[in-house]
């Protein structure tokens, strides 16, 4: 069943969002990566996931909030189709760290899609990054951190809307960054945020 629904839903997501994918200064690879992107629409995770090449897509899991993706049968089903890694935002404790869970889940095979802003912003301006990306980079320095800028998807399906307007969107994936030795958390998060913004204009 999944062999049919996954490509069909991926194709549907691509058609609805008219997404163009640009790989700038990097190539699609199956090595372990963290794609980190700006967050403006519920479609972000799905469209970014759907626009990856099939062999990469099968290895990549979007990270998303359990309270959104477990409400209602449709979303719950979609979450299984897209192999979403669900994080419970309310139960974050020291012994139950989502970072450890993510790293446990991906092992040494899978890649992740994360949205370091945490939640979608309404203003259209990109928010500050939360520290999760820094901890990921610190614990697994071998992962390639890929900046992704998602353009126009907030117009396809803005917050609070359920009907899509299929405008053309654009996904730009840039060259990977890594945590540099001696770099502080704030510096790294600033640099990561800038690398996403740089994709907007390139």
């Amino acid at each position: 069943m999944k062999q049919v629904t996954v490509p069909v839903l991926a194709a549907l997501a691509k058609v609805l969002s008219g997404a163009t994918v640009r790989w700038i200064g990097c190539e699609p690879e199956t090595c372990q990566r963290i794609y980190f992107a700006n967050h403006t629409s519920h479609l972000d995770a799905l469209v970014l996931w759907a626009s990856l090449p099939k062999n990469i897509r099968n290895l990549t899991r979007p990270v998303a909030a359990v309270d959104y993706w477990q409400s209602g049968p449709v979303r719950r089903y979609m979450a299984t189709v897209f192999n979403v890694l669900l994080i419970d935002r309310k139960k974050i404790k020291v012994h139950n760290s989502p970072i450890d869970m993510m790293l446990r889940e991906i092992g040494d095979v899978n890649s992740l899609i994360v949205f370091p802003e945490g939640s979608r912003n309404l203003s259209g301006k990109m928010g500050e990054f939360k520290s999760g990306l820094f901890h990921l980079a610190k614990k697994r320095p071998d992962l390639e951190l890929m900046p992704v800028y998602i353009d126009n998807l907030n117009r396809v399906m803005p917050k609070g809307e359920f009907l899509p307007v299929p405008l053309l969107s654009c996904i730009s994936i840039g060259a990977p960054i890594w945590l540099e030795s001696g770099e502080s958390k704030a510096e790294f998060l600033q640099r990561a945020r800038k690398s996403v913004l740089k994709m907007k204009d390139s």
Binding site: N152, E161, L168
Partner: protein, 378 residues
């Protein structure tokens, strides 16, 4: 007397062809072949020149030329396939192109959150509705739904959404996009609905057209071919003889020489097509006049779209979102000329639309159309 002939003529027509077109006539097939072969030849020539390193032609111009020819060939092949399949497939094809063009247009123009639901209804409501109305041949409705009903619906729906910032500007953008991408283009598909007859000005009676009243495929293909010829000629005239740029701030390459040269040459091409392959019920000079109008409207379409693109700071819609072909870029000339060509053809050759004083109505119609076409030259 006119009424009597018209009634008999319509009766004969209804007998001979109760349903829509029986497929393209032999002249139309001839024209299709000629167009495909010439486009293929142009493509081959362009590709050969590209390979020759010693040619003196600017490679950027050549690339642009090849791109144009390739996209026109694609459009023609798709149109021919649709025409061979069924009338409804052709109308659906135009509908899909409209949808895609409107999508590009809205992507290019900034809208606000408050416009979201309006845009949904425009894209999924009015766009399909327009083509359904063309499909069921409801002339009264398909000519007024967008300019009247949609024009009133759009501002009202935006007002209900509660965002008043730049209200008129946002309303106008959506209205304009719908009018150009959907309403205007649908008139090209609506050419298939016309019931063609010949007006004999010597005797003052309607005569049956030898191709049959429903051979509208020829008319549609004549129109598309003329727009293409005009586009290519305009491009060549600009590059070869262009001196006086019309509006450098809007489009740095479009010149008066190009506009007038292309219009005159296209007119000649229209006459030649009609004499060699009579695919339309026009006289030879009528076809020349139609081609002239089409060419001028096509040029003004490209100019208008250039102005919009300049205002938005993009050169081509296609590069706005990389990888998309830029449908709007290719069809701007078709959009502007389709409604004018449709109505002129209807006034002069559609047997069903004429019941009263033909000559007076045609004169008034021609004067109105002529004025709207030529007013911007002066």
């Amino acid at each position: 007397m006119i009424d009597a002939t018209l009634t008999t003529l319509l009766a004969v027509q209804n007998e001979s062809a109760s349903s829509f077109g029986e497929g393209p006539g032999s002249w139309t097939i001839g024209l299709v072949l000629v167009v495909l072969v010439s486009l293929g030849a142009l493509l081959a020539a362009g590709q050969t020149l590209k390979r020759k390193p010693e040619s003196h032609i600017d490679p950027a111009i050549l690339r642009n030329f090849n791109k144009r020819v390739t996209s026109w060939l694609t459009i023609c092949v798709m149109l021919v396939i649709a025409l061979m399949l069924h009338r409804s497939v052709t109308i659906a094809l135009f509908g899909f192109v409209s949808f895609w063009a409107l999508r590009e247009f809205i992507t290019m123009t900034p809208t606000r959150r408050g416009d979201h639901r309006t845009l949904f209804w425009v894209l999924f409501g009015f766009t399909p509705l327009q083509y359904v109305l063309v499909g069921i041949d409801n002339y009264d409705l398909f000519t007024i739904v967008i300019p009247v009903y949609a024009s009133l619906f759009i501002p009202a729906r935006i007002a209900f959404a509660g965002d008043h910032k730049r209200f008129l500007e946002r309303t106008a953008k959506i209205q304009f996009g719908l009018l150009i991408c959907v309403y205007s283009l649908s008139h090209a598909a609506a050419l298939l609905n016309l019931k063609l007859a010949k007006w004999n000005s010597d005797t003052g009676v309607w005569e049956a057209w030898e191709n049959g009243p429903n051979d509208t495929y020829g008319l549609l293909f004549f129109f598309i071919a003329i727009v293409q010829v005009s586009d290519i000629l305009h491009f060549l005239w600009d590059r070869l003889f262009g001196r006086h740029v019309i509006a450098p701030a809007v489009n740095a390459t479009k010149t008066w020489e190009g506009l007038l040269g292309a219009a005159c040459c296209t007119s000649l091409v229209g006459m030649v097509i009609q004499v060699v392959l009579p695919v339309t019920p026009f006289t030879w000079w009528g076809a020349g006049f139609m081609a002239l109008i089409i060419s001028i409207m096509a040029s003004s379409g490209s100019m208008t779209m250039s102005a919009i693109k300049r205002d938005r700071g993009v050169k081509e819609h296609g590069t706005l979102v990389l990888g998309h072909a830029g449908v709007l870029d290719r069809i701007d000339s078709v959009c502007f000329s389709a409604p004018i060509f449709f109505h002129l053809t209807r006034f002069f050759t559609d047997a069903e639309s004429r019941v009263v004083d033909v000559v007076a109505e045609q004169s008034v119609a021609a004067a109105t159309m002529g004025m709207s076409c030529f007013s911007f030259l002066v």
